[in-house]
Symmetry: C2
């Protein structure tokens, strides 16, 4: 530990083990375990991702269930489920029982219903009940994410009692950094950091140490859970049922995963495609074609209106072919300005900086912004057309259209995410191409209408 390796070097070093691992899988699977003893399970999971599915299946057959569980906790649940689907049900149950409660629920949720029931039937009754309880909550809610292992202390207890309970929790490998204060019904009344318990006199009352606890409900959606943990800088947030009783905690490591996952989904939506469920290379070719093709086709159909618009202005184009040269320039400028506004507002909505309530304030700002930016491009555009030796009428048409189209782009880009949010859709579908497809048609109609007006065609 003299000099920690940077992540890339470390990953590269771990990958040097790959030939040995493949060799062991092919020839002496009883030695597989030794390879994983030396490395962190997160690095082990990285190695697994480089193997063929068949190799991983052999590996999981021969590895100790507890070791398999540790590795699979670091693997995407959908991938882990695929690897486990051909194992015997008892063996899967053995592995699943060794996993953290929140991780195993995520994994089991990926199984086909029939398969899930078979595995549950092989589990110990009390473990099975735990899993079934968590599975009863909807995907993407706090209830599904939470870990049911936490330490409570009665409000009338003392610091000494609390420390004893923390020790008991520690023996179970539970998270004990925060203790939750409850009344006799289990209703959450507050929280006491273990730090405060250690600082306090042994006979200090829990009541005097208790702080107000931020909490979420079992049915709170995971994005809101992430927002609460992030806003209040928490390490864990308690989850309460509809009666206010504490039933679990969601820890910050889940939030890190949620934030990463949501950012990936948003990035893919903004790139105009349906979000993938797996990583880039683990998504099948045809699945990817479909995820991309749907949006590409929708945008193509929307963009067909540009052809109709141009056909409609046939005579204008015939009269002044030179107008054609600037069509891509004009429509792209509107799209670009719209793309900026859309990404600004979509992101500001995602982090809670703005809300639908701010619609008028945003509209005012974006229209001003659009006109200012449009004027800048209009001037450059005017000069370009002038230098090309075109008539002052064409110059004026291009410049005026640029001001209009950039302003329209900014407005459309800013308003669409707010509209989608208002009607309950994800604002992130306002991708740059989506905005562009709307602004393109508008831009062409505006351009050729202005041309007709100014040039008297």
């Amino acid at each position: 530990m003299i000099n920690p390796l940077d992540e890339n070097t470390r990953t590269a070093l771990v990958r040097l083990l790959l030939p040995d691992l493949r060799e062991a899988i092919a020839r002496h699977p009883e030695e597989i375990g030794e390879i994983f003893e030396e490395i962190h399970p997160a690095d082990g999971a990285d190695l697994l991702s480089l193997l063929d599915d068949e190799e991983v299946r052999i590996l999981l057959q021969h590895l100790d269930p507890a070791e398999s569980a540790r590795l699979l906790e670091y693997v995407e649940p959908a991938t882990a489920a695929r690897w486990l689907e051909e194992q015997r049900d008892e063996h899967v149950a053995d592995i699943v029982e060794e996993m953290e409660p929140d991780d195993r629920v995520e994994l089991l949720a990926e199984f086909e219903e029939e398969e899930q029931e078979k595995v549950l039937a092989e589990m110990q009754p009390e473990e099975r009940e735990d899993v079934e309880e968590l599975l009863s909550h909807e995907e993407g809610t706090a209830g599904r994410l939470m870990n049911p292992q936490f330490v409570t202390v009665p409000a009338h207890g003392t610091a000494e009692d609390a420390l004893a309970r923390a020790r008991a929790g520690a023996r179970e490998d539970w998270n004990i950094a925060m203790l939750y204060v409850v009344d006799e019904k289990g209703t959450l009344r507050g929280r006491v950091p273990l730090v405060e318990v250690l600082k306090a006199e042994a006979d200090a009352s829990i009541d005097s140490l208790s702080q107000e606890a931020e909490a979420v409900r079992v049915d709170t959606d995971q994005e809101s859970v992430a927002q609460v943990i992030s806003k209040y800088d928490l390490v864990a947030v308690p989850v309460v049922d509809l009666h206010g009783r504490i039933v679990g905690i969601v820890t910050v490591d889940d939030v890190v995963d949620i934030l990463t996952e949501e950012a990936t989904e948003d990035a893919q939506r903004q790139g105009a495609m349906q979000p993938l469920e797996n990583s880039y290379f683990q998504t099948g070719f045809w699945e990817m074609v479909q995820k991309r093709g749907v949006w590409l086709l929708v945008l193509f159909l929307a963009e067909l209106f540009t052809a109709s618009a141009l056909e409609h202005f046939d005579h204008v184009l015939k009269h002044a072919l030179t107008l054609v040269f600037f069509i891509p320039l004009i429509v792209s400028s509107g799209g670009n300005s719209g793309s900026q506004s859309a990404s600004l507002i979509t992101r500001a909505l995602a982090v809670g900086e703005v809300g639908v309530r701010d619609v008028l304030r945003i509209a005012g700002r974006e229209i001003g912004m659009g006109v200012a930016l449009g004027l800048a491009l209009g001037i450059v555009g005017y000069l370009r057309v002038l230098i090309a030796g075109d008539s002052p009428l064409v110059c004026a048409t291009v410049a005026l259209t640029l001001v209009g189209v950039v302003a329209i782009g900014a407005m459309v880009g800013a308003m669409l995410p707010l509209l989608f949010k208002r009607i309950g859709l994800d604002p992130a579908i306002t991708s740059s191409p989506f905005v562009a497809s709307i602004v393109d048609v508008t831009g062409i109609v505006l351009y050729l209408s202005i041309a007709r007006l100014i040039m008297g065609i």
Copy 2:
């Protein structure tokens, strides 16, 4: 705490305090403190964001420095610095001294150098040294982010010693969930979770409890720090100097902030603008015009080549004006396909799913994907042109160009982020509009070249 409020309701409730707060600021500033006693500092920070700068300045003059410090820990450092710049230096020093070491360094780094020195001069010598040590590290590195307050235990100690040290650390309000094992030189040798200390017998040796510790160096950049914490599911990662001595820890709440910040920056880059330093409404109008205008102008200049390309094919267009109708359709399809690939690869690079080493594998995949998607659009395009009653030659031209342009778009979109990564630039600048501006020109040249060939113009 019977039923926790959801975040939106809570925010709305807190905002009901705004008139009282404004009233207090305007008429009896000595009562400001009472308003903040009742609410969480994170909610207090939200209230501050709704006030005018002048009101916040009056508020900060009258609030107790410790209370101001708690609020400002939840405010964007750049904004907090702006609010503090007109306060007396001693008053700023009083507030800053009450802040967490990592938060105050972030804040002071936002000050003008002269102002920073004045405030440092007013601080207690030992606090000042702490700050200066952290400020000596470059922005965006682990050294700048870290908190220098952590608990170490000697490798030859016992669990009882470790618990005593944890209690001492707790009295200082340090993070004690993890204790770091060091040798006599302070070199990091491992870590012991407090949980393990509580579980162990009093005379158990630290050596026997010590686990391998993932660590980062003071000069590790913040994205890598976030990756390490996220990959290994850590609550905190120790930071070591060039000799392997532990000098601080970076906690997961910083990672949540980094991830959110980086995702915002990437979203804005992908929307084709320079990232903002402040939130949407807190960025000035002209600053925003400039951040957006630069890219808008660059893209406009790049897009000017489309005009030149069209001018070059003047005679082809004159010969068959009907070709013009499909120009926006064709260029947008190429851009959309490129936008998908760019967002996929940029994001996969950001989360470490792919690397520059995968360039050939990605290229192979994207070319196949591009051809498959291009064929789908080509067929639809062929039918559209056919129905419009255009000649089979135009139909063939449009369909063939679509296959080509979608494939080219996919390749350009996938390769650019890898190229930027390779030459040390941020892959996220490969925005949809950026890809489109390159693909647009290529698409036009391809389209009209194919037309010339097929139609024999």
